[in-house]
Each structure stands twice: as C-alpha cells, then as structure tokens.
C-alpha cells in the first residue's frame, strides 16, 4: 500500500485522484478474492455432484443448473417416511436461496440445519440448545449428504455458499415442499449415529 501511495503521489495530478485510484486497486483485490472464492465454490459444487440431485448434473452450462428438481416422478426420493424433492439452489427470492444468507447456507452444510428454518447466527456447538445450536434442530431431509460434507474445510463450505448466492443467476422455479415425518427430534443425526464434528483424531481404532 505504501508503495502504491508513493507511486500515486508522483504521477497523479491531485492527491484526491491518487486516493481514488488506491481505493479502486483495493476493490479490485477484493473482487479478485471473491472471484477466487466463487470459482472454488463452483469446483466443489461440480465435484460433489450437487447438480446430480438439484439439476444439471455436473454441467454448469446445462439447462436448469441447480434450480431444483424438474421431473416430479423420477427425481423424487422416497426414503422411509420421507418424500424428498431437491430444492432450487439459485438465488431467486421467492423460489430459491435469495432470502438466505451465506451463513445460513454454511450452517446447512456444516450442521445439516435447514437454512430457512434456522437463524442467521454463528453456531459454536452441536448440542441442541447450546452455542446457538437450535433446541429443536430442523435437519435437511435425506439423502442430502451433509453428514459427510460437513467435514469439508470452512473455506470450501463458505465457497459453496458464495457460489450459490453470487455465482449463479436466479432462476424462478418452484419445487414443491418435501414431505416426511416431523424430523426435529429424530435420533438420526446424533454423534452416536453420524460421528462427531470435527472427526475423531487419526488414527482411530479402525486406522493405522
């Protein structure tokens, strides 16, 4: 920054213009970091086959990329008591993620919490009622594999959120709500069943 200012003072005809230039350079840096984050998010989304359920397969150029289930018969999951319909992940305000924050999406991927039913807060515990973890957690419906993907590093989860919110165009496509039993007290997503986050230190009894 110091070098930039010295350079500006030598070449710019007025100090105000030189500062404007410096601010612009900073913004470009910020934009570049954001673009890098979005590109990383795109990479994680493609390689983790989000489009396999949410639309478009592994092809971001495909019609219906990530805007939710289209085939109301073949794309619906019937798992036990659940009827799960993959949602529109594009940032459309009424049918997608437009009204969700990146942190709500991060919390969905890290803790499996439905973003439209979980406050936009930093969560510091996985015990219901503690550290902003909801007393009655509302979990994403199966087969959303958040219990595996929660182990991705923070930066990758934030990158997914950034890509969904900032890297996609909104697509107005309504997917009917998923159906199923009340799931907010189920024992499916306890440490006992899906393991702790972070994962137990290496090596566990299964590892060498």
């Amino acid at each position: 920054m110091l070098a930039m200012l010295i350079l500006a003072s030598c070449t710019a005809p007025s100090s105000s213009r030189s500062f404007a230039g410096a601010t612009g350079d900073t913004r470009i840096q910020t934009d570049r970091a954001r673009e890098d984050q979005i590109a990383r998010g795109r990479f994680v989304v493609i390689t983790h086959d989000c489009g396999g359920c949410h639309g478009g397969g592994s092809n971001p150029a495909a019609a219906g990329w990530l805007d939710g289930m289209r085939d109301t018969i073949n794309d619906v999951f019937h798992i036990g008591p659940y009827t799960t319909r993959p949602k529109n992940l594009t940032p459309d305000n009424t049918t997608g993620t437009g009204r969700l924050s990146e942190r709500q999406i991060f919390n969905a991927l890290r803790y499996g919490l439905r973003p439209e039913e979980t406050p936009d807060v930093e969560i510091t515990s996985t015990v219901p009622g503690q550290g902003n973890f909801p007393l009655h957690p509302h979990y994403l419906a199966p087969p959303m594999p958040w219990d595996a993907w929660r182990h991705l590093p923070d930066r990758d989860l934030w990158a997914i959120a950034a890509y969904l919110k900032q890297g996609l165009k909104p697509s107005n496509h309504r997917v009917p709500d998923s159906d199923g039993p009340p799931d907010f007290w189920v024992s499916a997503y306890t440490v006992k069943t899906i393991g702790a986050y972070p994962a137990a230190p290496y090596p566990t009894a299964n590892e060498r």
Partner: protein
C-alpha cells in the same frame, strides 16, 4: 348482491346510546356472551374498569374442573365495551404467579399503554392502563397478555377477552349483536389444561404448528346455541383467540354478509359463503335467520391446510362444529335494510411511501433473526408512510401482526386487494407475499411486529419497529 339482506322495509334506525355496562336501554347480553366490564366512572365519555388476572378453578368442560388463569374470574374475560372518543382507564391487578401484561390488540394507543413485553407487570403489582379511543376506531378488538416468551401459555390458560368499540354514528341499523370469541384447548384426564414439555414430541409439534386443542369453544362454551328469528339479521363479531388454529368459517349452505374486519366496517358489504379467520383476526358478519321455528343450522370450521407437510395433523381434514343457530319464535315482519355503502375508507397513498421494508418470514425467524428486545429491527419516524413487503418463504402459513398501527393491504402475490379495509392481522399463506401500506401517524415508541402463532411469537418470531 345483498338480496338476502336488503328487504323492502327499513326498521327505524336507533342510535347506539351507550354500552350496556353503564346505561339502560340496550338488550340484555346473550346468555352465551361474555359478561361486560362494569364502568365505575360517573364522568361523561369515560370508561373506568377494574381487571384482575388471577388463578381460578372453572368448569371448562362438563363434569370437570380446570385450573385456569382468568380475567375477573371468567374465561373469556369480560368484554370492554366502549365508544369512539371514550377515555379508558383500566385499573389492572396482577394476582398471577408470573409477570404479565394486557395488550389491547389492534387499538391505536400510546406506546406506554400497549402492554407489550417491554412493560411487564410483576406478580402482586397493579398498573393503570389509560388511553383514548380515537375517532374511526369503531370495530372489534380483543385484549390478552403479551409477556416475554409466555404469551401462548398465558392465553392458553384462559386470559383473553373481547373489546367492542361502537361508532358515534354506526351506518348499520340497530340489531342484535353477538360477540363470538373462538378458542381451542387441550385437557388432561384430570381436567387440567394440557401443555406439552418443550423437549417432548408434542412440544416439538406445538412449536411448529402452534398449540392446537381438540376442544373448540365459543365464548368458553362448547357448541352453544344461538337463537334467531326467521328473517332477523344479527351482527356477529368474531374473534380468533386460538394460539395456532386458523378457522375457515361457514354456516352450512348459507351465506354471510361480510361487513368488517380488524379495524371496523368495510366500505361495502360482501356476500360470502365462508371466511378465513386467522389467529388474532376479527370479522364482522351479518347473519340472517331462515326457516321455520325449530330449524337448526351449524356454524362450522372447515378444513384448511395451513400446515407444513412434516407436522400436518392426521385429522386436519376434519370439519368441526362451533355453534348451533336455531330459528325460534315468530318470523320478522319488518326486516331491516342494509346500506349498500357503509363508510368511506381513505386509501393510504403508495406514492407517499418513504421506505419499502422487506420482512421475510422463515420458520420461527424474521429476516433470519429471532427476537432480541435490545435490538431495533425497523427504525422510522412519526408521520412516515411505508410499504412493507412480507414474504413467507416456508411451507406453512404465518399470520402477521403489527402493534400500534392499522394498515391497508395493497396486494397479495401481486394481485391487488379487491376492497379496502383497516387491518392489524394478515395471514401470509405458505410461499406467498403480501404488500401492506402503513402510516405511523402518531405515538412514538417501540412496537412489536410478529407472527401471531403464539408458539412462534414466544420462540422469537418477532421484531421491533421503533417510531421516533
């Protein structure tokens, strides 16, 4: 349009002289109606009443006693019956074992009298609520506690009562009026009112749906009978005091004349077959008696799917009976005429709006947040006109309530509202958006806006509007 109601001869129009609690000349209240608060003031245009909230033991259901919370010993509490322009003084005593308030739901009054969670009254303490009922307020309202995180419990225990504000010059002819307060409740085998543990299965469902009970009450009675004469028109004021139940009201094949809503009369009556009455909401209906003496028809609550799929009750498609309307006595020979125009409602002008607020309803959250009484969510100034765009992004209905200021609905999902009305409750159905317009024409303060499913409100689906 008004064929069932507009008949050849007009009855003489008698001005409403005074509420029954302080003057003679009005018909005795219907036995099934709540009692009326006694006005102890001798001053003109003043209504001074005493209300005590206390634990009581009442027979809510035949053959069983229940421990309740009651206003002046009855459930519902006695009706506050006033006229526009009256100065109201309520001497309130809290004899409950917990803090409480009285919120005068829908009345435009100073912040200090709102009875919001900002103004708790400790057990054993007294408080005087004081406000003047402004011109244009005539309509049906209700009062209930609004303590921090305990509103659902306190109303479920029995704390609610009606408010009727009479107009100085009511355009409707004098006729028999019924205040019909709807509530539902859940009872344990020993007769006590049932509340689920928060961590239990039922507690979880209650948190989602709002606590519903299988026993439906009209003014604290199960399936009361209301009498009407053939050809007689009655004015019914309905209040939904339930925590979560939304009533879809119908009268077995008959129509109503829908003449008013939360903030009083419409501009014109509407003939309807059914009415959706969301939590906290009120409607005014004209009902016409038909058939020979002995004819009985039933006011029903028809199925309405307000629920998310995960917690939709298995019996949600059940039609439930509320009351019996029985034709009695001689037919009316000189039926009354209902005016085609009731009053003028000046529209609030969207071009005067200085802000558009986006209010996003998630499940239990507003704009991604839960309630924080130390936070201001919307800040504005006295005199401002604003548009609120209320979006429900989840799969169950959320009834919106704004304290302090009545609003007008502009449109729902882009469809302009077909008629003008003053509202303080608006059901926002699943995955839908409504736009309202509001003017903060007086009374600075911190006003609540929230989902009126009481369990949602208590769990933080509420925000603060500061008017400075």
């Amino acid at each position: 349009m008004l064929s069932g109601f507009v008949l050849a001869l007009s009855a003489p129009r008698t001005a409403h002289t005074a509420p029954a609690s302080r003057a003679v000349g009005l018909p005795e209240p219907d036995p099934s109606s709540p009692p009326i608060l006694v006005n102890i003031s001798k001053l003109p245009k003043t209504v001074e009443v005493n209300i005590t909230a206390a634990v009581a033991t009442l027979s809510m259901q035949p053959g069983a006693l229940s421990e309740v919370f009651a206003y002046n010993g009855s459930v519902p509490g006695p009706t506050l019956d006033v006229r526009e322009g009256d100065h109201v003084i309520v001497h309130f005593r809290n004899n409950l074992p917990e803090p409480t308030t009285i919120h005068w739901h829908g009345i435009h009054l100073p912040f200090e009298a709102d009875g919001s969670p900002f103004q708790p009254i400790a057990p054993g303490k007294t408080h005087d609520y004081e406000f003047t009922v402004r011109a244009g307020t005539a309509g049906t309202y209700w009062y209930h506690p609004h303590p921090d995180r305990r509103t659902g419990f306190a109303i479920g225990k029995g704390l609610f009562g009606g408010i009727v504000v009479h107009a100085a010059d009511d355009p409707l002819p004098s006729m028999d009026e019924k205040l019909i307060i709807l509530s539902d409740n859940r009872f344990l085998q020993d007769g006590s009112i049932g509340f689920a543990e928060a961590a239990s299965f039922t507690g979880g469902v209650d948190e989602e749906n709002g606590r519903e009970g299988p026993v439906l009450f009209v003014n604290g009675h199960v399936m009361p009978t209301v009498s009407i004469r053939n050809g007689e028109v009655q004015r019914w004021r309905l209040v939904n005091a339930s925590a979560g139940r939304i009533y879809r009201i119908a009268l077995s094949g008959h129509t109503f004349l829908h003449v008013g809503s939360d903030g009083g009369l419409f501009e014109k009556p509407l003939e309807v077959k059914e009415i959706l009455l969301t939590t906290g909401e009120r409607v005014e209906l004209l009902v016409r008696g038909t058939g020979a003496a002995g004819t009985r028809i039933v006011l029903q609550d028809l199925p309405y799917d307000r629920y998310a799929p995960q917690t939709r009750p298995a019996d949600w498609q059940t039609t439930r009976d509320l009351l019996t309307l029985q034709t009695t006595g001689e037919a009316v020979v000189n039926p009354i005429t209902i005016p085609a125009t009731l009053r003028k409602i000046t529209p609030l002008d969207p071009s005067k709006s200085t802000a558009v607020r986006t209010i996003v309803f998630g499940q239990g959250i507003i704009n991604g947040k839960t309630m924080d009484m130390s936070r201001v969510d919307v800040s504005t100034r006295v005199g401002a006109t604003e548009i609120w765009e209320i979006e429900n992004i989840v799969g169950m209905d959320h009834p919106f309530h704004l304290h302090g200021f009545q609003f007008q609905v502009l449109d729902r999902d882009g469809v302009p509202e077909p008629y003008r009305a003053w509202k303080d409750m608006l059901n926002i159905p699943k995955h839908s958006t409504a736009r309202i317009i509001v003017r903060y024409d007086d009374y600075p303060g911190k006003w609540m806006f929230h989902c009126h499913i009481l369990d949602h409100e208590d769990h933080g689906m509420m925000g603060v509007l500061e008017v400075r």
